[in-house]
Amino acid sequence: MTKKYTLDELLIIAVAREIKDYDNVILGVGLPTTSGALAKALHAPQANLMMEAGMIDFEPLIPPNHIADVMACKGYACATDLFTAFTMTYRGFVDICFLGVGQIDKFGNLNTTAIGDYYKPDLRLPGSGGAADFISYSQRTVLTMRGGEFVEDLDYVTSPGYLGGGDERDSSGLFPQGSGPTKLITQKGIFEFDHKTKEMFLAEIHPRITVEDARKDIPWELNISDKLTETKPPSDAEINFIRNFAPAAAMGRSLAAEVGFANLLKELEERGKT
């Protein structure tokens, strides 16, 4: 019997398992940075962690605040600029990158820009940042989703997945052959994309989640793999690593924010400064 885990931990661990030894990895902010640290500590010691702000081969000692946080590590191997971080991606040197999802359609196209009308949005999301560049030219792209939504039609296409499905991405001539999103990891399961149609299907389901739970979020008839398996539960070593490295990440965003804020208030109170 292994330790109990949170769904945030399961997600972080599932993401970490996608990183192979010797991969050149572009990490995004948030959950992937913890996954990167976990992979490097436990199963991919030669992975090269990089960020688009120009940090190459860094090893975070604490969870970075953002994608330019060199203060989370004690030095790193190469300080290049953002332009070069992207041109090396274009040239094919990046094996894997991770992107968060705002809206996603069945072919893995993403919207992280706006909900509603782009010009007068109901909700203005952050935007592309480096997402569209990375998913276009990284060899593999793993998508992560917490709080995003599945939709039939995106309000805005920020980052190209398999476009209209089938061989549309490969035949467009705009992207390296065989590139595109490889997996989508949510708190319910792991989705992959059909080899031929490029439509996403449920490949693995997390323990104690039902197929019905997974279908609930999805407005189209979700395909389920014939060989649907249960996600391998986290090992104690994986859970221990996350809790030591990033206890707030283990809690998930809202609980961590709640506790963090209470802690700030407490400190202010102790100083008699509220």
């Binding site: 120009g54 953002h66 330019a68 946080d69 953002l82 332009f83 949005p121 952050p126 709080g147």
Partner: protein, 348 residues
């Protein structure tokens, strides 16, 4: 007009002299260590009508937009307070129609600066962008947001972005000399490109240092003196964001800002307290210490982790060796002058 050699001045003077209403204004910093005091001073002086460039907007963009200073925004990323249920000044301004936005990817935006920095009229970007709405949906830049040309070598379609050469860059760095040689290290991002693409550069630094320090570490210099217009020493000039080697991000102040930014009214109160009621950075820091105690700031001060010095040494730094002979010809000055005379090479 020739620039003065020494460029040290105050933030109010620099903004007054070098930032004009309606300018194309660029925030040089990227995600980290942003030029907060310069942003505050622009707001205090009520400058407006900007086309603002920001590689990745954090509270710098939020404040300038909330102050009504920005008409157009060119960016790749904007912050949002409090997730889906929260909000941002950028979102509010878009909804109201007081702000137009042009979205690029990180690479595309940076490519515009690289073209501007190097004097090219455009830069090639990655063709995959054609499959996205960044390419298809255009705002104030219209046709000129992206243009497609034929590569003369491969015959393939090449997507381009136009050069950006903003009127003025505001940027914060770790150190500079009084001449404007500015040194920055850490996450490089697009900081040098943003500064060097611009026509004028206003820089704040944590410390003004002796030129000897700059000259012993030229690999850290991102802006050479001849490109700088104003140098201002502003300790804690990027607070509440962090500056590598000086101080960490202030989560308390970040938290207060994030909570305030979700609504215009609370953001206005935040600005009244921290921008308008503090005449300069010293007053801001004094007010901070008064409200929260000095202990908070002390906890943020970075413990040193020095880079190994790069050895710029050489075997000799004089043409003349220890015997007074020129290293190339093996002759003394007297012997050289005699030789010149002898060969009839000297003229009255």
């Amino acid at each position: 007009m020739t620039k003065p050699i020494e460029k040290v001045m105050s933030a109010p003077e620099a903004i007054e002299r070098f930032v004009k209403d309606g300018d194309h204004l660029i925030i040089g910093n990227y995600t980290v260590g942003t030029c907060m005091e310069l942003v505050f001073e622009i707001i205090r002086q009520g400058k407006q009508g900007f086309t603002l460039y920001s590689q990745s907007g954090i509270l710098d963009v939020e404040l300038l937009v909330a102050a009504g200073a920005v008409e157009k925004l060119v960016t790749t990323y904007v912050m949002r307070s409090g997730g889906r249920s929260g909000g941002s000044a950028v979102e509010r301004a878009l909804k109201e129609g007081s702000l137009q936005i042009e979205d690029y990817t990180n690479y595309n935006y940076n490519a515009r600066l690289m073209a501007g920095m190097h004097g090219f009229s455009f830069m090639q970007v990655f063709e995959g962008i054609m499959a996205t709405d960044l390419f298809k949906k255009r705002s104030f830049m219209g046709e000129d947001k992206y243009r497609v040309i034929k590569c003369p070598y491969t015959g393939k379609d090449v997507v381009t972005v136009p050069a950006a050469t903003p009127d003025v860059c505001i940027v914060h760095v770790q150190r500079a000399d009084k001449f404007g040689n500015a040194q920055y290290w850490g996450a490089i991002g697009s900081v040098p490109a943003a500064a060097l693409a611009s026509k004028r550069i206003i820089l704040t630094c944590e410390e003004i240092v002796d030129t000897g320090i700059i000259r012993s570490s030229p690999h850290h210099t991102i802006i050479p003196a001849f490109r700088a217009d104003a140098v201002i020493e502003v300790p804690w000039g990027a607070h509440p964001t962090e500056v590598v080697g000086h101080y960490n991000q202030d989560k308390l102040m970040w938290g207060l800002f994030i909570m305030a930014a979700a609504r215009q009214e609370s953001l206005q109160e935040w600005m009244d307290e921290w921008v308008f009621n503090c005449r300069d950075r010293q007053a801001y820091i004094d007010h901070y210490v008064e409200r929260f105690g000095s202990g908070w700031l002390q906890k943020l001060v970075a413990k040193p982790f020095y880079s190994a010095p790069a050895n710029y040494g050489s075997a000799f730094l004089s043409t003349w060796d220890e015997h007074g002979k020129d290293r190339g010809t093996g002759l003394t000055m007297e012997e050289i002058e005699n030789l010149l005379e002898e060969r009839g090479l000297l003229h009255d």
